[in-house]
């Protein structure tokens, strides 16, 4: 196997974690839109997900495949969030989730914007990233 040559420099940023935003999403609120709205209302430019727990009406994930982004639909309701991680930056958030359906089957992927709505509740905790 031949590795492709590097085309760009790695970008390293030092910094520290700052304020926490401790939130609850009521029903029918989208995860990404809500995370970005919370950051905007607290004046946070960049945040990391520290906690994400709750349920979705349906799950809408995607991943990069050979034919571009491939959708992964997880039919609900009552899709459980087992893990939520990623970075929140207005308009550029990339959040990944591990989900379980009502049969206990597990799915994982990148969240699609506007399509992962809170079913009963989502506890979402974000923490500010402060670059030096």
């Amino acid at each position: 196997m031949t590795l492709a040559p590097h085309t760009a420099e790695s970008h390293v940023q030092s910094g520290q974690l700052g304020r926490l935003v401790v939130a609850r999403l009521k029903p029918n609120e989208d995860i990404i839109d809500s995370a970005e709205a919370l950051c905007a209302s607290h004046g946070i430019n960049c945040a990391v997900v520290r906690g994400g727990l709750g349920s979705l009406i349906d799950g809408a994930l995607h991943y990069l495949g050979r034919q571009g982004m491939q959708d992964l639909h997880v039919p609900g309701p009552g899709i459980e969030i087992l893990s939520l991680s990623g970075e929140v930056i207005a308009g550029q958030s990339r959040l990944q989730a591990v989900l379980a359906d009502a049969d206990g089957n597990i799915f994982a992927g990148r969240l699609q914007r506007g399509r992962n709505l809170s079913f009963i509740t989502v506890e979402l905790t974000l923490q500010e990233w402060l670059p030096d």
């Binding site: 304020r19 609850r24 969030i81 597990i106 079913f119």
Partner: protein
């Protein structure tokens, strides 16, 4: 109102029995957090072990992840349909697993019940001894560590709590962020 689905822009919404109230996002800000790595030993009851660790900490609530580990016994719930027209979805009977369970993912919230006592809310994914994947709402006082220690990472915070309160819209008792005095 009878709970029902509506579709907007190709995305299903669920209208619960109670009236939706504004705001739709509830949030509080905390200045900083305290970080903990917790390793629970074999045969430990996870709820008991975790609460014992937290007993000496100054915090109101915490969020965290299951990083790795195994279980010898656990009980978890999945969402089922009910005959209650106002609350048509709820957790069903527990699914019980024994022996050689490996965690692959998990999230945890340590909130407060109405009396102020710690309340554990956990969802996790795991693989049983036959290789079958499972995921759902985990009951931590029925989770016994097995095969290898269970490692959790927690972010503790003070002056804000995830407090259980009744929610008129969904008709569940749910964790809500609320401001608190420093503990």
């Amino acid at each position: 109102m009878t709970p029902h689905f509506e579709t907007h822009g190709g995305v299903r919404h669920f209208i619960h029995g109670g009236l939706p109230q504004q705001p739709r996002l509830l949030d509080c800000e905390v200045a900083h957090s305290q970080e903990l790595r917790v390793e629970l030993p074999l045969a430990c009851n996870v709820a008991e072990g975790l609460l014992a660790v937290l007993h000496s900490c100054r915090y109101q609530s915490a969020v965290g992840r299951i990083l790795c580990g195994g279980a010898a016994h656990l009980s978890y719930h999945r969402m089922v349909t009910t005959s209650d027209s106002q609350r048509p979805y709820d957790y069903g009977q527990p699914v019980v697993l024994d022996g050689y369970i490996t965690f692959i993912s998990g999230a945890l919230t340590v909130g407060r019940d109405a009396s102020g006592a710690p309340l554990l809310h956990c969802h996790a994914g795991f693989i049983d001894r036959d290789g079958q994947q499972h995921g759902g709402h985990l009951v931590l006082n029925r989770l016994i560590v097995g095969s290898e220690p269970l490692v959790l990472r927690l972010c503790l915070f003070d002056q804000v709590a995830y407090q259980v309160q009744p929610d008129a819209e969904t008709q569940f008792n749910l964790l809500h962020p609320v401001l608190k005095e420093a503990s």
